[in-house]
C-alpha cells in the first residue's frame, strides 16, 4: 500500500496519528469517529482491535477495549464495518492489536481481509521479531500491508536498525519503557529522540506513549516526523458527548487550530 509512503513524501513534519478503539464508545461509532478524525486534521488513523488482555496498553485503552467487547465488537464485525470505508476515508488506516484474536480468526484470512477493505498497515506489539521473520512476516508482505515495529529507549542499536529494516510505513518510537497513558519526563524523551534522529533510519518516526496535547505534540515534533495520540483521545471520548464535537475540539487543541 502506498498511502503511508505517499503521506510522508508529502508531509515530513507534524504527522498526527490518532488511535481509537473499534466499537467504542458505541459498536457502530467506528466509522463515524474515523470520518471525524479525517475531517479534523488527523493524518493517520490507528484503529485498535479490542482484546481482553492488552498487555502493552494502560488502563484507559484497556477499559475502552472491554467496553467495545461488551458492545459486541469482534474482528468479523469490524471488517464488516470497514467494508465500505474507502468510500469516505482517504487517509492511511493501520490496525493495532494483539496476536491471539488474529490467530483465532486465521492469520492469513486476517491479512487478506485487511487488504480487501483497504487497511494500509499493522501494529501488533506482541508479534516478536523471531516469529515475524520465520512465520508471519511473509503473509503480511504478500498482502501488501505495511508492518510497523515498536522501538524503545532500551532497544539496542543493532536491533533497532534491524526493526527499522523490517518495518515499512513508519517506525513507532515508544517514548519510554512504559504502557500507554503514563506521563513522561520530556527531557529524557528529547535525548532519546535526538539519538533516533541522528541514526538516519529508513522509516519516518512517529512517537507514541505520553503524547496528550499541543505542548507534548509540539515537543516531540522537534526531532521526529510526528506523533501518535491514544489514551488522551479515548479519555476525551469517554465523556460521552457527541463524538463529532469532541473530536473537533480535541484535534483543534492538539494542532493549535
Amino acid at each position: 500500500m502506498a498511502r503511508l509512503e505517499n503521506l510522508f513524501k508529502a508531509q515530513s513534519k507534524r504527522v498526527l496519528n490518532v488511535y481509537c478503539t473499534a466499537g467504542y464508545p458505541d459498536l457502530n461509532s467506528t466509522l463515524q469517529i474515523m470520518e471525524s478524525l479525517q475531517e479534523n486534521g488527523a493524518n493517520i488513523i490507528e484503529l485498535g482491535m479490542p482484546y481482553s488482555d492488552p498487555l502493552a496498553d494502560g488502563e484507559v485503552i484497556q477499559r475502552s477495549s472491554l467496553h467495545a467487547l461488551s458492545n459486541g465488537m469482534t474482528l468479523q464485525v469490524l471488517f464488516e464495518q470497514l467494508q465500505e470505508m474507502r468510500k469516505t476515508i482517504h487517509i492511511p488506516v493501520v490496525l493495532m492489536g494483539y496476536m491471539n484474536p488474529i490467530l483465532q480468526f486465521g492469520f492469513e484470512a486476517f491479512c487478506a481481509r485487511a487488504k480487501e477493505v483497504g487497511v494500509d498497515g499493522l501494529i501488533l506489539p506482541d508479534l516478536p521479531l523471531y516469529e515475524f521473520e520465520n512465520i508471519y512476516g511473509k503473509t503480511i508482505k504478500d498482502n501488501g500491508l505495511d508492518f510497523i515495529f515498536l522501538v524503545t529507549p532500551e532497544t539496542p542499536e543493532e536491533r533497532l536498525r534491524k526493526l527499522d529494516s523490517l518495518s515499512s510505513g513508519f517506525l513507532y518510537a515508544v517514548s519510554s519503557s512504559a504502557t500507554t497513558g503514563k506521563d513522561k519526563d520530556f527531557t529524557q524523551v528529547a535525548i532519546y529522540l535526538e539519538r533516533l534522529q541522528q541514526m538516519n533510519l529508513k522509516n519516518p518516526i512517529l512517537v507514541g506513549f505520553g503524547i496528550k496535547d499541543k505542548q507534548s505534540f509540539d515537543a516531540v515534533n522537534e526531532f521526529t516526523n510526528g506523533a501518535i495520540i491514544g489514551s488522551a483521545y479515548i479519555n476525551a471520548l469517554s465523556k460521552g458527548e457527541d463524538v463529532g464535537v469532541i473530536t473537533k475540539e480535541f484535534l483543534n487543541e492538539v494542532l493549535g487550530n
Binding site: 474482528l75 506482541d126 523471531y130 504502557t179 503514563k182
Partner: protein, 399 residues
C-alpha cells in the same frame, strides 16, 4: 506455517523457548531487554556452582528439604497399588511454590535487581514471594485480583505481615489472569530495577523453563527416595494437579525422558468439564497466546480469553504452561480432570485415612487414583503440592 521445534527432549525447549509449537516469547518491545537479559543469563547463573550451593543450602535449612516421600498405607490398600506421597505440603509456607521463589530471588540478586514483583491467585505464590523478599531484604509488590483479595483474606494478611505491598488488580475479571496482566505492566513501567517472579511454568521464555528447573528438585528427590526405599528409582505413575502447572512440571521433570513412567496431570473440571464453569484447559481450550507464550488457552471463537472456574483458586487459570501443552498434544502426558465436588470429597477422605489435610488443588490429584486402573505392583507417586490450612474456610462449609 511450519512447526518450530521438532525435538523430543522435553527437558530442553529450543533456543527461542519452544516445546514443539508451544512457548516462545510473545511480548511487546518494552519488555524485550528484561526478557533478553534473563534469557541470556538464567542458564549460566543456574549452572554456576556457587549459585547452586547457595540455593541448595536455603532449600535445606530454610525450606526444609528434602521433603519426605511417604508410603500411604491405608490409601494404597484401598486403591490396590503402592501409593507414595511427595510431601511438598511440608515446605516452609506450606506448598511447593517456595522452591521457585528461593531460586528466583537468588537469581534476581545476581542480576542486580532491588525490587521484586509477583502475581498471585490464591495467595500461595504471593506468600512464598513475600517470604523470600523478607529473607533477602528486597522490596516486594504483589499483584492480586480484587476478587481474590476478598476471597483469600488470611494470605493477604500474611503477605502484609511479611512486609509486602499488595496491589489490587482492578481490570478485567479482577482475578489471577488480570493480576498477571498488571504485574507484567508494572514490569514494563519499571524495567531496570525490577525482577518479576512468575509463580508458574507460564509466561514468556525463559520463564516456563526456568520455573520448571527450579521446581525439578521435587522429582530429583523422588528418584533418590524411591531408589532408597524400593531399589528402583522409576515409579510406574506420577500424578499431579495442573493449573499453570508448576508442581506438575517439578514432579514430572526428571521422568520426562523415561517412557515407562506414566505422567498424569489432573485439571480442575469445576462444575463439570462441559458445564460452562470449568478450568480444564486442555479439554476446553484451543491454541492461543496468553501472558507471552503460545499454548492452549480457554477462549471464545473470537480469541477473547475467558474466565475459568474452579473451587481452588490455584487451578483457576485459563491457560496452561507450554511444556504441559506439548505433553498433552504429544500424548506423553495423560490429562484427566476432577470436579469441585470430587476434589472436596478427596480432601476429606485423605484427611481421614492418612491424617493429612491437603490443599484443594492437591485434592484434585487424589480424585483420579481410582480411575487409573492400577495394578498391585504399580508404584504411584502423588505430588502433595500443598497443605489445606488456606482452604479451611471452604472445608468448614462442608463439615
Amino acid at each position: 506455517m511450519q512447526a518450530f521445534n521438532t525435538q523430543v527432549n522435553y527437558q530442553n525447549p529450543s533456543i527461542e523457548g519452544y516445546y514443539g509449537e508451544f512457548g516462545g516469547a510473545y511480548i511487546p518491545e518494552m519488555l524485550f531487554k528484561n526478557v533478553e537479559t534473563l534469557k541470556a543469563e538464567y542458564l549460566k547463573i543456574m549452572q554456576d556452582p556457587a549459585f547452586i550451593a547457595e540455593v541448595d543450602a536455603l532449600l535445606k535449612d530454610y525450606v526444609g528439604r528434602p521433603t519426605p516421600l511417604f508410603f500411604a498405607e491405608r490409601l494404597s490398600k484401598e486403591i490396590g497399588a503402592n501409593i507414595y506421597l511427595k510431601r511438598e505440603d511440608l515446605c516452609h509456607t506450606g506448598a511447593h511454590k517456595i522452591n521457585n521463589t528461593i531460586g528466583q530471588i537468588v537469581l534476581a540478586k545476581r542480576l542486580g535487581k532491588t525490587k521484586i514483583i509477583a502475581e498471585t491467585g490464591a495467595g500461595q505464590h504471593g506468600v512464598a514471594t513475600a517470604t523470600v523478599c523478607a529473607l533477602k531484604g528486597m522490596e516486594c509488590v504483589v499483584y492480586m485480583g480484587e476478587k481474590d483479595i476478598e476471597r483469600q483474606a488470611p494470605n493477604v494478611a500474611r503477605m502484609k505481615m511479611l512486609g509486602a505491598t499488595v496491589v489490587p488488580a482492578t481490570s478485567g475479571s479482577k482475578t489471577l489472569k488480570d493480576a498477571t496482566n498488571e504485574a507484567i505492566r508494572a514490569w514494563i513501567n519499571e524495567p531496570n530495577e525490577t525482577h518479576y517472579i512468575i509463580g508458574s511454568v507460564v509466561g514468556p521464555h525463559p520463564y516456563p523453563d526456568m520455573v520448571a528447573r527450579f521446581q525439578s528438585v521435587i522429582s530429583k528427590e523422588m528418584r533418590l527416595q524411591l531408589k532408597e526405599k524400593l531399589g528402583n528409582e522409576l515409579p510406574t505413575h506420577v500424578v499431579a494437579c495442573v493449573g499453570g502447572g508448576s508442581n506438575a512440571a517439578g514432579a514430572f521433570y526428571h521422568f520426562l525422558n523415561e517412557p515407562t513412567v506414566a505422567l498424569v496431570a489432573v485439571e480442575a473440571a469445576g462444575h463439570g468439564v462441559h458445564s460452562g464453569l470449568s478450568a480444564a484447559t486442555t479439554q476446553l481450550g484451543t491454541h492461543g497466546i496468553l501472558h507471552g507464550s503460545k499454548s492452549i488457552v480457554m477462549q471464545t471463537n473470537d480469541g477473547q480469553v475467558v474466565e475459568p472456574h474452579s473451587i481452588s483458586a490455584g487451578l483457576d487459570y485459563p491457560g496452561i504452561g507450554p511444556l504441559h501443552a506439548f505433553l498433552y498434544e504429544s500424548k506423553r502426558g495423560t490429562f484427566l480432570s476432577a470436579t469441585d465436588e470430587e476434589a472436596l470429597a478427596s480432601a476429606f477422605h485423605i484427611s481421614q485415612i492418612e491424617g493429612i489435610i491437603p490443599a484443594l488443588e492437591t485434592a484434585h490429584a487424589f480424585s483420579v487414583l481410582p480411575k487409573l486402573g492400577l495394578k498391585p505392583t504399580d508404584v504411584v507417586v502423588v505430588c502433595l503440592s500443598g497443605r489445606g490450612d488456606k482452604d479451611l474456610a471452604t472445608y468448614m462449609e462442608h463439615l
